[in-house]
């Protein structure tokens, strides 16, 4: 089995190398075939693993493939931990990635960086698999940084575009903040547990539950809380939680397949996955769970609001991603890890679908992304229309669609939860449902229905996208509808995850909900009587009323509540705040330190001083090498003399 796991990881890497290094030789077709075959192999083998581990309930695999180095008894290894959680993630990652690969052939058809692009996305698949399959913190960190790197490269893929460069710099900097916390967390793990292996750490974690540490003298902090919050800071960066969310909307500067693959379906969920993986640690600290819960709730609601005022089709979907990531985080905070991961999976499918559908619209519109300039596209692109509709219905949680099961479960779990902050979170997620429905259908109506607002030239060329684009849409639409119904029973209420996820007895909200669970149909029927459904329906209705029935109303509302609109339009001023306080502040501090610390102190005294000193010494000793043979012989004799003298004195 080990070989299979290794092949799953390496197949995309090999594809990536072929496309990247030999791109010129293999040509465009060679590049996409190499990478697609690599990912397809991965996907197929993942399905086998999924079948074996999950469906046939096989043994969990935990083993090292390669020991990189052993230092002071701590082993740094490359190893795999394959359990239900990992197998599910592998399935999602490779499937979505495969779809995106195929879709890319159509989307990037005319781009000069075709091979480079395939190289990157395959490399991303490799990194993401390394991340989810890791059995230790070091490999997790490797995958974490590798996906970050590829994401950075891809946001700035069109490196001649000013905004793209700005966006990838921003993503890079914001993620640095998160990664710093993450790295500190791993360092703390290493310090207290003396191991980076998951199994060792989780086994030892309960004994550490009451250990305290004084980081600021006189203030006792629980070690587990500190570790968990530090790790969560990393998750906040990667999964774009408030206040480290600012990079995600800007990341839409990258090509659309990337937005689908990296910034919606997989990479941004790495944080969620990581917290679920670390559940044995999070369960030991109520404080940490509470932090997770509140941050998630804020993200879920307030990022949803921002979706209401966006006009760029991709940014609407991006804010919806932020808000959905908030939902997942809330689930984690409420100890409903299974629900969080479940939402992660369903979201991966329907959000990838939404992005790719948006991409399809963008192709048809000749790379025009403003929804105010669209409308009535339904008759031109029927496949895209239906796929987008399915995606939107899944997103807002229409009973029966996949998103419904996961989202409803999260909301119920939060309602049941007793973690501090749960009431606030419950209100946030409920209200969030309405907002989600409103912005989703606002976009949907503006794009596909109503007046055709595009210019004449574009209109003439409007047609459905080619097969390589629509095929992935259809293939993604299928799980977006059905996967929830199929999986809800075992995932949430059954023993699906086995020992992969640990939930403490008193926190097990899903078990409490599960007592009332009466099968899929019962769940759907129950869905119609909850406030959730009516809120969603209200949202759709509001969207219809405002944008189809009375298109003049939004303008009036905007004028009436100008202040609020401006605030939303500026995304609560987070970017301005960051620019003015952090960026300008650090620039000032930087230039101060540069002038006084670096130029005078370090450069002048330490670096140049040392360099000067060493150089001086070097040119002085250099003269020992006179070139005279007898000097050389003499130096040997002196050496001998001193060694003999040493040994005589010593003896």
């Amino acid at each position: 089995m080990e070989k299979v796991y290794l092949s799953i990881v390496l197949a995309p890497l090999i594809g990536s190398i072929i496309a990247g290094v030999f791109g010129k030789q293999v040509g465009r077709a060679g590049a996409h075939w190499a990478t697609i075959i690599g990912v397809a192999i991965s996907c197929f083998l993942s399905a086998i693993v999924f079948n074996q581990i999950v469906i046939n309930d096989g043994e969990t695999f935990n083993g090292a493939v390669y020991t990189w180095l052993v230092s002071d008894g701590i082993r740094f290894e490359v190893g795999f931990l394959i359990d239900e959680l990992t197998a599910s993630m592998m399935m999602v990652v490779t499937f979505v990635s495969l779809m995106v690969h195929i879709y890319t052939i159509g989307y990037m058809k005319d781009d000069p960086g075709y091979q480079r692009f395939f190289c990157y996305i395959s490399l991303f698949t490799f990194s993401m698999l390394m991340l989810v399959m890791a059995n230790n913190f070091m490999q997790l960190f490797f995958g974490w940084e590798a996906v970050g790197l590829v994401s950075y490269l891809l946001i700035g893929f069109w490196y001649k575009k000013e905004t793209a460069i700005y966006a990838n710099l921003k993503a890079f900097l914001v993620n640095r903040v998160g990664d710093f916390g993450f790295l500190l967390g791993i360092a703390a793990v290493l310090m207290y547990f003396n191991s980076v292996d998951y199994a060792d750490v989780f086994a030892a974690a309960p004994d550490m539950a009451n250990l305290t540490v004084q980081i600021i003298p006189g203030l006792d902090w629980n070690v587990m809380t500190v570790i968990c919050i530090l790790l969560f800071i990393g998750a906040m960066g990667k999964s774009a939680q408030v206040p480290l969310h600012v990079w995600l909307p800007d990341s839409m500067e990258g090509p659309t397949p990337i937005s689908a693959l990296i910034h919606a379906a997989t990479m941004v969920t790495a944080g969620i996955f990581m917290v679920a993986r670390m559940s044995p640690m999070y369960e030991l600290s109520t404080t940490a769970l509470s932090v997770v819960l509140v941050i998630g709730a804020i993200t879920a609601l307030f990022m949803g609001f921002l979706g209401l005022v966006q006009n760029d089709i991709k940014r609407v979907v991006a804010y919806s991603t932020l808000s959905q990531l908030g939902y997942m985080t809330v689930a984690l905070g409420a100890s409903a890890y299974a629900a969080g991961v479940f939402h992660l999976m369903t979201h991966a499918f329907f959000k990838a679908l939404l992005f790719l559908a948006a991409g399809s619209v963008i192709i048809a519109m000749h790379h025009e992304q403003d929804i105010r300039k669209m409308g009535g596209l339904k008759k031109y692109m029927p496949i895209t229309y239906w796929c987008m509709l399915i995606g939107s219905l899944a997103l807002i949680g229409t009973p029966g669609f996949s998103g419904f099961f996961s989202k409803d479960a999260i909301i119920m779990a939060v309602g049941e939860s007793e973690t501090p902050g749960a009431t606030f979170a419950y209100l946030c997620v409920l209200l969030g449902v309405f907002v989600t429905a409103l912005y989703s259908f606002r976009m949907f109506f503006l794009v596909f229905h109503g007046k055709e607002r595009m210019d004449h030239h574009t209109k003439e060329h409007l047609h459905e996208s080619p097969g390589v684009v629509t095929l992935p849409l259809v293939l993604l639409a299928i799980p977006s509808v059905f996967v929830g119904a199929i999986a809800v029973g075992p995932w949430l209420f059954g023993d699906y995850f086995g020992n992969a996820i640990y939930v403490a007895e008193q926190n097990d909200v899903l078990a409490r909900i599960g007592e009332g669970y009466t099968g899929v149909m019962g769940f759907i029927l129950h869905g119609f009587v909850t406030p959730v459904f009516w809120l969603a329906a209200g949202g759709v209705f509001a969207a219809w009323y405002l944008y189809m029935k009375r298109p003049d109303l939004p303008g009036k509302i905007k004028a009436q509540f100008g202040g609020i609109h401006r605030m939303l339009d500026n995304a609560y001023g987070a970017d301005d705040f960051n620019d003015k306080v952090f960026a300008a502040g650090s620039r000032k501090a930087g230039s101060f330190l540069w002038k006084f610390g670096d130029v005078k102190g370090i450069d002048g005294f330490i670096v140049n001083g040392t360099a000067f000193g060493v150089g001086k010494v070097a040119s002085m000793i250099r003269h020992l090498q006179t070139g005279y043979l007898y000097h050389y012989a003499f130096s040997m004799i002196i050496g001998l003399l001193l060694l003999v003298a040493g040994i005589l004195i010593y003896a």
Partner: protein, 478 residues
């Protein structure tokens, strides 16, 4: 007359040695019949000899230790690994040298024959289990090297270097021999096992220690440790680059083997005494090598000083005196050999008829002239400086770990400080390659074979850095 009985020794373990000797003699004779334009056959045969020897060595390799020739020859896993690396490195040397020698009218059969005899000398040293064989192997190697350095007869620099090398080498040999004779005088045996048995009982004997000092002087000279290093820069600089490539690489492996055989196998119980001496040598080598290299403008001299500092690191591993230390030193010596092979080879690649490319300035703007070669050089320089993820980093790390394990933390800190200073001159090469404009834009003449070999060489530094265990598991001492 005393009844003399003679038992035929077991020749099997020595088959690779006999093969190399036979082939060297055969090539020597065959070469007479070739005209200059067929000389390439000599070259191909020499490389084939090394390949054949490698196959034989690997085929005969077992996990056990075999003694033959009345205890004067030993074949063990450590020896097999070292020998195979010697063949590989020498074969690479030959491949790199070809174009360089042809361009200078030095493409003669003697170069390869002497090279093969040198390899035989190294093999004898690696497999020696008797002070006499150890010494014979050393002389065989040294004699070949003296002649190779002087090979370019019309070059004043080369002749001067050969003269210095020969005289100093003779002096060092004399000291080594004196040390060996003292040890023999006390223990009454030349056999390393018997010496070890004697030393175990008499480890405070002052005469033995004196013998030890002289032996160490001889060893330190061969390795090029300060203050017995003076020949290194002059010889590396003066010799034709292809010969520098030869003497700067594989013989270090043999010298390491000699240290292991004599100090560890023979005089292991004097560990306490030789540890202190090696500390002195290592401390001086690391400091002097790294510092003086900074002041060099000739890249061959710079690499010579870098060799001295690397030798310091190898000594660090040996002086730890633990199994871990020995295997990390072995790892280091192999890695060092591969790195300096690439480094010197790069000088050869840039050179052409009448132009040596051994100045730092000759590397200016290499990135503009050949981005791939510049990248390969960058990897090599990073590896020498010990920048992760290259294997140079891992080699340094494992040696330092061994030192820390025996509680010589100050030594580890000291070594780290000086390797940081040393990183300067390696990075300067990188800076020159990437940020300066080339003075000389003549197209590079390096052949395809050279390019492939150097790429394999450099990429191996990277690959082994990521998977060091592949190499590390070969480094078994006993």
């Amino acid at each position: 007359m005393a009844n003399v009985s003679f038992v035929m020794p077991n020749f099997v373990p020595a088959i690779p040695e006999m093969f190399v000797l036979g082939m060297a003699c055969a090539i020597l004779i065959l070469d007479l019949f070739f005209s200059d334009k067929d000389r390439v056959v000599t070259y191909l045969l020499s490389v084939a000899t090394l390949v054949g020897a490698a196959i034989l060595t690997i085929a005969l390799s077992t996990d056990t230790r075999e003694l033959t020739f009345n205890g004067s020859f030993v074949r063990d896993p450590m020896g097999d690994v070292l020998k195979v690396f010697i063949y590989v490195v020498t074969a690479f040397t030959f491949i790199y040298s070809r174009r360089y020698l042809e361009a200078r009218g030095l493409f003669k059969g003697e170069y390869f024959v002497l090279g093969l005899f040198g390899v035989l000398g190294m093999m004898v040293m690696v497999s020696a289990h008797n002070m006499l064989t150890l010494y014979m192997g050393l002389e065989l190697l040294s004699l070949s090297m003296y002649a190779m350095v002087a090979f370019q007869r019309d070059s004043l620099k080369a002749t001067e270097a050969a003269m210095k090398y020969f005289i100093l080498g003779a002096l060092a040999s004399g000291m080594l021999l004196y040390g060996m004779s003292l040890i023999y005088g006390m223990s009454g045996s030349l056999d390393l096992a018997e010496i070890a048995a004697y030393v175990a009982l008499n480890n405070t004997n002052v005469v033995l220690m004196l013998g030890l000092v002289f032996a160490i002087v001889g060893l330190a000279f061969k390795l090029g440790a300060v203050p017995f290093h003076m020949w290194v820069p002059d010889v590396y600089h003066g010799a034709p680059t292809s010969v520098t490539l030869y003497i700067g690489t594989a013989p270090k492996i043999a010298a390491f083997a000699m240290v292991m055989r004599l100090l560890v196998e023979g005089l292991g119980d004097l560990h306490h005494q030789w540890q202190d001496m090696l500390i002195v040598l290592a401390v001086l080598s690391i400091a002097l090598g790294n510092v003086i290299a900074i002041a060099q403008t000739n890249i061959k001299r710079m690499l010579a000083y870098s060799t001295i500092s690397h030798v310091g690191f190898i000594l660090l591993g040996i002086l730890a005196g633990t199994e871990n230390g020995y295997s990390s030193a072995m790892f280091y010596v192999v890695v060092y050999t591969l790195m300096s092979l690439g480094g010197f080879a790069m000088i050869i690649m840039l050179s052409r008829a009448g132009f040596e490319a051994d100045k730092l300035d000759d590397f200016k703007g290499l990135n503009d002239r050949s981005p791939w070669l510049a990248l390969m050089m960058l990897v090599l320089m990073f590896s020498m400086a010990g920048v992760p993820p290259t294997v140079g980093f891992y080699a340094k790390l494992s040696v330092l770990q061994a030192v820390v394990q025996v509680e010589l933390v100050w030594l580890a800190v000291y070594a780290v400080v000086f390797s940081v200073i040393g990183a300067f001159y390696y990075l300067r090469v990188v800076k020159v390659m990437y940020f300066d404009k080339p003075d000389d834009t003549t197209p590079l003449e390096a052949s395809m074979a050279e390019r492939i070999v150097i790429s394999a060489n450099s990429l191996a530094m990277l690959a082994l850095g990521i998977f060091p265990a592949v190499l590390m598991q070969l480094m078994v001492i006993r």
